[in-house]
């Protein structure tokens, strides 16, 4: 029974913790930097480097298309990729609630290890805390990543009138999948989260001579948040053809049922890109080679005014602002 679930002793800094770290984490993430077990990992970095952090508190921990482990790797790796950086090294902070099933922890760790393989990044340092029953909701993860910047200059501030806006796939699937998995809602559908590591696709984009201005994964706040942040940061207007924005039937169904907007729902493997309109088709052609980007499409353009705002065009010729979502977004999606 002692190995069936996490005990407070697993976080005590003593024997039991050492065992957990060696038998579980070291085995799954094996690499020689990690095994050094020093106060800090030793890296050799040269030049411009991206550095990003995210904590993961998603509920439930397992959902169609992934789990918190996959999410924690993909999320941080994607943030590096969005800055034109090759994901190289990750840290992992684990906060576990006493009584958490060891089998679930093993599944989550395995899922992290398998996601790491997709981009070649390594977990090189970590930290484990165990808190008493009731002091956390199962498991929280933090991943922080560093990576060499392959293509400098990508920035939310660099959008320019004349840019095309692309999305890499249909939107809202992660937020919808989490909602479907939520206890008490008892929904069923074939929907799976878009949760995925984007580095493969981004790496290919970066080897081409596209003058990409900005990329961003449309996580919390969804497409609305990315576009509004970009419009504000670059002081431009962004216009979107509502009919061009890809949304799956199931996400539409969920939005109908609960009054959500697909543009507000989170994504975890879908990103937005701005680059000169003339290069948009070329970029699409590259993106569509990747399974999870096969629905990539141009959804809009960058204009000048009203600066800082995002305009949605309906197919019947009317317009409205696309707003930043407000209020609590239930459930916890990351």
């Amino acid at each position: 029974m002692s190995t069936n679930s996490i005990q407070l002793a697993h976080g005590g800094g003593g024997l039991e913790m050492n065992k957990l770290i060696r038998n579980l984490f070291f085995k799954a993430f094996d690499n020689c930097i990690l095994r050094n077990e020093e106060d800090a990992a030793l890296l050799n970095l040269q030049g411009p480097t991206a550095f990003t952090t995210d904590s993961f508190t998603v509920s439930p921990l397992f959902f169609a298309g992934g789990d918190i482990g996959k999410l924690a790797i993909a999320g941080t790796v994607n943030d590096l990729a969005m800055m034109g950086a090759e994901p190289q090294y990750l840290s992992l902070g684990v906060i576990i609630e006493e009584g958490f099933p060891m089998a679930s922890l093993e599944t989550i760790v395995a899922s992290m290890a398998s996601e790491l393989k997709k981009c070649g990044a390594k977990i090189v340092c970590g930290d484990t805390k165990v808190v008493p029953k009731g002091c956390a909701d199962g498991l929280f993860l933090n991943t922080t990543g560093v990576g060499r910047i392959v293509k400098p200059g990508l920035s939310a501030k660099r959008l320019m009138p004349g840019d095309a806006i692309l999305v890499s796939g249909d939107i809202g699937r992660h937020g919808a999948a989490i909602l479907m998995a939520r206890e008490g809602l008892e929904l069923e559908s074939g929907l799976v989260s878009d949760c995925a590591t984007l580095w493969g696709a981004v790496e290919q984009l970066l080897v081409h001579p596209f003058d990409i201005h900005a990329m961003r994964d449309a996580t919390r706040g969804g497409l609305s948040a990315v576009l509004n942040e970009w419009a504000a940061a670059s002081d431009v207007m962004i216009e979107v053809d509502e009919a061009a924005v890809p949304v799956s039937d199931e996400v539409k169904g969920l939005c109908e049922l609960y009054g959500f907007e697909a543009t507000d729902l989170a994504n975890e493997g879908t990103f937005v890109m701005a680059l000169p309109a003339a290069q948009a088709d070329g970029a699409l052609e590259v993106l569509k080679r990747f399974g999870h980007c096969e629905n990539a499409v141009i959804i809009g353009r960058v204009g000048e005014s009203p600066a800082g705002r995002v305009i949605l065009h309906t197919p019947w010729g009317s317009n409205r602002y696309l707003d930043l979502p407000a209020g609590e977004l239930l459930p916890r999606i990351c």
Binding site: G184, L185, E239, A243, D249, K252, E256, Y258, G259, P306, I311, L312, T314, P315, W316, G317, S318, N319, R320, Y321, D323, A326, G327, E328, L330
Partner: protein, 386 residues
């Protein structure tokens, strides 16, 4: 229902058509063209009030204001049951939620609406047991799982949602769950229409009637608006095509000076409505003498309460002395009342966009995305984009 005898389902109607067919761009454009053409014959501007926030939402989300001519104007109605809730009722919900042995249940957006000292969300943040539901019947399991607690369902909604509360109460009785009580805030649409029209200076001269209310209550409930207030009413669905068709019909009725009740949403609304639902509501509820609406003030016979024989389920009776009764007036600067009657515009309000924003609403019209001030705050000016 208009046609209860359909026994040969027409296989040519796909479910998806009920969405896509009623959002069709060509149809919307065609209806817009017809509206613009018909409106040229209007002898005076048409001031349409859409009573229901669901319609406000459709109008804003699909940008319909940009498609209609200048002499067809919208006055956004009392919004939604969430927005019209007076602060003292929210204060009562918060007082209940803060009691150690009480679990307070309510629907969706309600937890964000501020009472006189914060919202249910804030009460929850400071430790009160508040649980938002998507489905009222979930209250049964919560009551069953917490026999030591009193579970109070803070019931809100227009005629559309009242039958669901009735079913919940019925099931609680059947399952003999003594610990499930109700705080009833169900409000009625016709008295709100009367209140808007009671203002002599009101500009409203046409109504779009909430179809989901009529799915339950039938089209008959709008007779009085047509007969007494001499305003045409079109009972409209919530898709953009539904609303455009309803506008067209209102323009046409106005040109004909006909004050009738017309049912655009005939695929789901009948004259009589859902009789099963009405019977259930009659079993459990009776009309209150008066109810204060945020923005509109007290309106006689505008809300429901539990009948005396269900007093054992009535949280207002059970917790009688322990609930705050202080009536809280709207903010002095707030012009919602005038806005709801078409006498003022959100921009006329001194605190609009400054003290009063969707994150910090001072008046009811700013509370939810379905309120007039909220809609103006978020969308004003967009029509002028190239």
């Amino acid at each position: 229902m208009p046609n209860q005898a359909i026994n040969e389902p027409d296989s040519s109607l796909k479910l998806k058509s009920l969405y896509e067919g009623f959002r069709d761009a060509g149809t919307i454009r065609a209806l817009a063209a017809r509206i613009n053409s018909a409106a040229q014959n209007l002898s005076e501007p048409l001031y349409i009030m859409e009573v229901c926030g669901g319609h406000t939402h459709t109008i804003m989300k699909y940008g319909l204001l940009g498609l209609i001519p200048d002499n067809v104007k919208f006055i956004h109605g009392p919004g939604c049951p969430v927005c019209v809730m007076p602060k003292e009722r929210i204060d009562q919900a918060i007082a209940l939620a803060k009691m150690d042995d009480v679990i307070l249940l309510t629907l969706g957006d309600m937890i964000r609406v501020p009472g006189s000292k914060g919202s249910l969300a804030q009460a929850r943040a400071s430790g009160a047991d508040v649980r938002p539901l998507y489905d009222p019947l979930d209250a049964l399991a919560i009551a069953r799982d917490n026999p030591d607690k009193t579970v109070v369902f803070f019931a809100i909604g227009f005629e559309t949602s009242t039958p669901m509360t009735a079913v919940l109460l019925q099931q609680a009785e059947h399952a003999a769950l003594p610990n499930l009580l109700f705080h009833i805030n169900h409000v009625l649409v016709p008295p709100a229409i009367d209140a808007v029209m009671a203002e002599p200076a009101t500009k409203v001269n046409a109504f779009i009637g909430p179809a989901h209310v009529s799915v339950i209550s039938g089209a008959k409930i709008y007779r009085r608006a047509a007969d007494v207030h001499h305003t045409p009413v079109v009972v409209s669905g919530f898709e953009p095509v539904d609303v455009m068709e309803s506008i067209l019909r209102l323009v046409e009725l106005k040109n004909l000076t006909e004050s009738v009740v017309d049912v655009q949403y005939s695929r789901a609304v009948s004259e009589e409505g859902n009789l099963t639902a009405q019977a259930l509501v009659d079993e459990y509820f009776e009309v209150r003498d008066s109810f204060r609406w945020r923005g509109l003030g007290p309106i006689p016979q505008s809300a429901l309460k539990l009948k005396g024989k269900y007093a054992h389920r009535d949280a207002e009776i059970h917790f009688g002395g322990r609930l705050p009764v202080q009536e809280i007036d709207d903010h002095k600067a707030c012009q919602c009342g005038d806005i709801l009657r078409g006498l003022a515009n959100p921009m006329d309000c001194k605190v609009f966009g400054r003290g009063c924003t969707p994150q910090t609403p001072l008046g009811s019209c700013m509370v939810s995305s379905e309120g007039a001030c909220n809609a103006y705050y978020r969308y004003h000016g967009v029509q002028h984009v190239d």
